[in-house]
């Protein structure tokens, strides 16, 4: 029997599989390794950001600065590379900056006892503003090192590719899963999400965990920024506006509770894939106007959420009945 806390995850996976099957029935082309590969590559940066977001949400917090940090990182790297810095060094610097920025937000949240929503909202303005200051223009980059990176991929059948970005995202999820479920840091994050006060009284080092947590989320945002830079070979200060909302939606669709303390990192992967699937479906359909696109995305999101709740409700009922007839 499936434990109650895994139910949201199972529901998400189930919904994804069924939805994919339905799409494939309508557009047989969608059932190809090419589309599957695209699904992973195209959503790689979102997925990486969503790993960080999952941790933050598990702790009961939120990180609204992600979209801006991604844009900032991409501009930062692009400008450095344009100035002649080796990309590897630029990447390392960018990750150092985004990680420290996250750590600083974590420290602020803890030390000033301010809600994460507000601190990271300010962080969102700040990072975007900083990106503008570096360059308002979009800055293209090209460097052999980047080409080499992009040259890494695993060939799938029928012209499908598991690209470097896709591999990077899957790695990020693997790290996320291990961190969440097999380390003390992960356990502390779940504890914070249960109740900050109780966690403190049980000896969880609040300050340290908070700083580590937002540093991790900053790191993931930075890594997502690098993925985005690779993806577009450019840095652009107006890029990825509102990506944090996509990431939050992916986390929640993946079965994590926004109130914190409950959810699985792997669920987020399926949350991301479900969003990608919705978009792919809309492209394949190709008849929706701009507004119908928005409306349909909203409706599908609604359908997924309601379906998820229904599956949960039904299985909880079942469990209750089974328990009573068993006992």
């Amino acid at each position: 029997m499936i434990r109650a806390r895994y139910l949201p995850f199972v529901a998400t996976v189930l919904i994804f599989v069924v939805a994919y099957a339905l799409c494939a029935l309508q557009f047989p082309n969608m059932l190809s390794f090419r589309v599957l590969g695209n699904l992973l590559t195209d959503n790689a940066f979102l997925g990486i950001a969503a790993v960080g977001m999952t941790f933050v949400i598990l702790s009961g917090g939120i990180d609204l600065s992600m979209g801006s940090v991604i844009a900032f990182t991409s501009v930062f790297v692009a400008v450095l590379v344009r100035a002649g810095v080796h990309p590897a060094l630029a990447f390392a610097l960018a990750l150092a900056v985004s990680t420290s920025f996250g750590a600083l937000m974590g420290l602020t949240i803890h030390a000033l006892k301010m809600p994460a929503f507000v601190v990271t909202l300010a962080g969102m303005f700040l990072a975007r503003g900083a990106a503008f200051l570096i360059s308002t223009d979009s800055v293209p980059i090209s460097h052999d090192f980047l080409k080499q990176l992009k040259g890494i991929y695993i060939q799938l059948p029928d012209k499908g590719k598991l690209s470097f970005l896709a591999i990077l995202m899957l790695l990020a999820f693997a790290v996320g899963v291990i961190l969440a479920h097999r380390t003390r840091f992960g356990a502390n994050v779940y504890a914070l999400g249960g109740s900050e006060q109780s966690a403190e009284l049980m000896g969880v080092p609040l300050r340290k965990t908070m700083i580590q947590l937002y540093a991790f989320s900053g790191f993931m945002a930075g890594l997502a920024g690098l993925a985005y830079t690779l993806y577009t070979s450019a840095g652009y200060s107006l890029a990825t506006v509102g990506v944090e909302l996509d990431a939050i939606a992916a986390v929640v669709v993946g079965g994590t509770l926004l109130t914190g303390g409950s959810g699985l990192v792997l669920g987020t992967l399926f949350g991301v894939l479900i969003q990608g699937l919705i978009q792919t479906y809309i492209v394949f359909d190709g008849t929706l106007s701009s507004w119908w696109t928005k409306i349909v995305i909203g409706m599908l999101l609604f359908a997924f959420i309601v379906l998820q709740r229904l599956i949960l409700l039904v299985s909880e009922r079942r469990a209750a009945i089974r328990a009573s007839s068993g006992g």
């Binding site: 006892k113 700040l126 503008f132 200051l133 507004w291 696109t293 928005k294 409706m299 959420i305």
Partner: protein, 332 residues
């Protein structure tokens, strides 16, 4: 309503922001009468704050129940689009008002049902309408800016009564009305109770679901008003941009006003002051003449500064400090 003393940090922050702007652009405080209405940057702040102020009123109640309403910007776009369509079709102002407000109410109730009855988490529940709502608004306008020429409706946005611009009157009136509604009835207390401890509240017979639904409904209503003001202001409905990202400003206003995002105690007055602080900042930046690349940085820095000074941690330290000073003063 709320005691002045409790509003001290917000009023102080507003004063500091205003003084800073005054230093940068000296003409900021001059208010004159022109064409029979008040005129000046300060008045602009009062007018331009109207949408965020209205949103903040509803948002305060929603946040007090531990919720959040991300859809208000999209609801503004929807009601604006509908209002513009109706006005362009020649309907009378009362009809336009009634239909638009009803629509806002319906949007709010939709959110409320998702949150209160389907138990969907507020951010996600309202994200649905945030995404789809703008699409609906564009569907109504066909993606274009629907313009109209109807002085009666435009009056809402740019008219004045006794020299005071309408938007100012509207947000003040709405703030007063909702403030009185929640504080003169028991709604305020019950909303706070639900926000602090929903389970305990339900156990004493508080109808938590109904209350939550009501707060989202009020939020929808406020968004409808904001949408109409914006539409009347530019004599047209811009479904693409009306209210875009305004939900974040409204949330920020509520937080600057000291209402906790964890729900519970709230003050509408304080949220309105929070909205004024944000708008004063926006207007101040425009007056400053700095290049627009700096806008976000300036805004972020000032907001962080304000919130830092207001934060419970710093407030504690300050009160300890104040106590020490007082003790020292008493000794010497």
């Amino acid at each position: 309503m709320t005691k002045l003393k409790q509003l001290r940090p917000q009023l102080l922050a507003l004063a500091v922001v205003l003084v800073l702007i005054g230093l940068i652009s000296p003409g900021f405080f001059s208010v004159t009468v022109q064409n029979g209405r008040l005129y000046g940057s300060l008045i602009d702040v009062g007018v331009r704050v109207a949408p965020v102020a209205l949103l903040a009123i509803g948002m305060t109640l929603v946040i007090a129940t531990k919720g959040i309403d991300l859809s208000v910007g999209a609801v503004m776009a929807i009601t604006g689009a509908v209002a513009a369509t109706l006005v362009a079709d020649g309907h009378s102002v009362p009809v336009v008002l009634a239909v638009s407000l009803a629509l806002g109410l319906v949007c709010g109730i939709w959110n409320g049902v998702l949150v209160a009855f389907l138990d969907i988490q507020p951010i996600i529940a309202t994200l649905i309408l945030m995404v789809a709502g703008r699409g609906i608004a564009q569907l109504i306008t066909g993606g274009v800016i629907l313009t109209f020429n109807d002085p009666a409706f435009s009056f809402i946005g740019s008219g004045a009564v006794l020299g005071i611009p309408m938007p100012i009157l509207i947000w003040l009136a709405m703030g007063l009305a909702v403030g009185l509604l929640v504080r003169r009835s028991a709604l305020g207390l019950l909303i706070e109770a639900v926000g602090i401890n929903r389970r305990a509240s339900m156990l004493v017979g508080v109808r938590a679901r109904f209350l939550i639904l009501a707060t989202y409904a009020i939020s929808g209503l406020c968004a409808a008003m904001a949408g109409m003001i914006v539409t009347a202001d530019i004599h047209g409905a811009d479904a693409n941009n009306a209210g875009l990202w305004l939900e974040l400003d409204a949330i920020l206003a509520v937080v600057i006003g000291g209402t906790s995002l964890a729900g519970g105690r709230f003050s509408i007055t304080a949220s309105l002051i929070g909205a004024l602080i944000i708008q004063a900042l926006n207007t101040g930046i425009l007056m400053s003449g700095w290049p627009p690349e700096f806008n976000l940085i300036v805004k972020a820095v000032v907001i962080v500064a304000i919130l830092t000074l207001q934060s419970p941690a710093v407030a504690d330290e300050l009160s300890v400090l104040r106590g020490m000073l007082r003790r020292k003063g008493a000794k010497s």
